[in-house]
């Protein structure tokens, strides 16, 4: 249970130890990538709670989503289409849906554990 959280902490420390020299112009794509990765992570948590978890799908989804989001935003900028907005919208909606689902599952699981024969 605590291992992923420790991993998050470790990653954060590692990231702050390494100073990233990303040009300011690419900051926008970076933010989209972060959004996509957040979405993937919450999707992964949701699937754990739903007992449908597949590590391979999570890993590939995480990396491909992150890279594709950044690249699509970049492409959109080059083509003059605001794919950036579309990505923010899509990932944002999915993020909140995932969060809602996680909350739902957590609540129902807690209730099941409290009451012996609820639901």
């Amino acid at each position: 249970m605590w291992m992923p959280l420790l991993g998050l902490l470790f990653g954060a420390i590692l990231g702050s130890a390494i100073s990233f020299e990303i040009p300011i112009a690419y900051a926008k794509y970076m933010s989209i990538a972060v959004l996509a990765s957040l979405d993937s992570v919450f999707g992964g948590i949701k699937s754990v709670l739903e007992d449908r978890f597949d590590g391979f799908i999570l890993l590939t989804g995480f990396f491909s989503n992150t890279l594709l989001a950044a690249m699509l935003a970049y492409l959109g900028d080059k083509l003059g289409v605001d794919l950036y907005m579309a990505a923010v919208f899509a990932f944002g909606v999915r993020l909140f849906q995932n969060l809602a689902t996680i909350r739902h599952h957590l609540i129902s699981r807690t209730l099941r554990n409290l009451g012996p024969d609820k639901r």
Binding site: G11, S16, I24, A27, L59, T66
Partner: protein, 232 residues
Amino acid sequence: MTPKDSWRLPLTIVFVFLGILLSAQFQVQSRLVSDLSMQKTEDLITMVRNLSDKRLQLETELIDAQSKLASIRSSRADEKKIAENLTAELNKLAIVNGTQEVKGPGLKITIPANSPVLYVDIVSIINELWAAGAEAIAVNGNRINLYTSFYYAETENYMFITLNHKPLYFPIIIEAIGNPNTLEKGLTLPGGIIDNLILFHIEPQLEQVEELTLPAVINEPFFSEAVEVKNN
């Protein structure tokens, strides 16, 4: 690893990468906020205005400081000039009062031994030398200033000339700093002091000297009662 626990490892890996991404993004974002090109136009205008105001203020300050510096410099130069003048004046007064050893070209008058010379003759010679433009005079190594006194003293069979109440021994050597030619002319002009002395069989020898060194007076003049009266 049971199937139930199989979520741990992938999720941990993903979380590690999420952590890295998040902190990277955090860094970029904090750089972005402080970056000048990402500021609002209004803020930038205000910043520019403030900075140019400040620059203007600093420029006026600089001009003020520079003019102050110039005035201080000129006043220092004035002070220096005054100090130089005072020093020159002081040196002149030291020469006049004989408080300073002096050297320069001049005339050396030797009165040989056994000359029937009186103290008034010495005084006459010295007066003549002053009149001829002597700047400093010494007699037998005693600097003459306005406190010097010549007189005479007598024993039963001998008479001394005294200088500051001390006997003056022969040969009497009078040294005067000044233009040597002028000094000599002043003494030897027809009907002058030398002619007079020759009548009494006193034959002083005159010698123009390139450089004479006259000592300072032994007792410097001091003023305890006399106070300067200031006109106006």
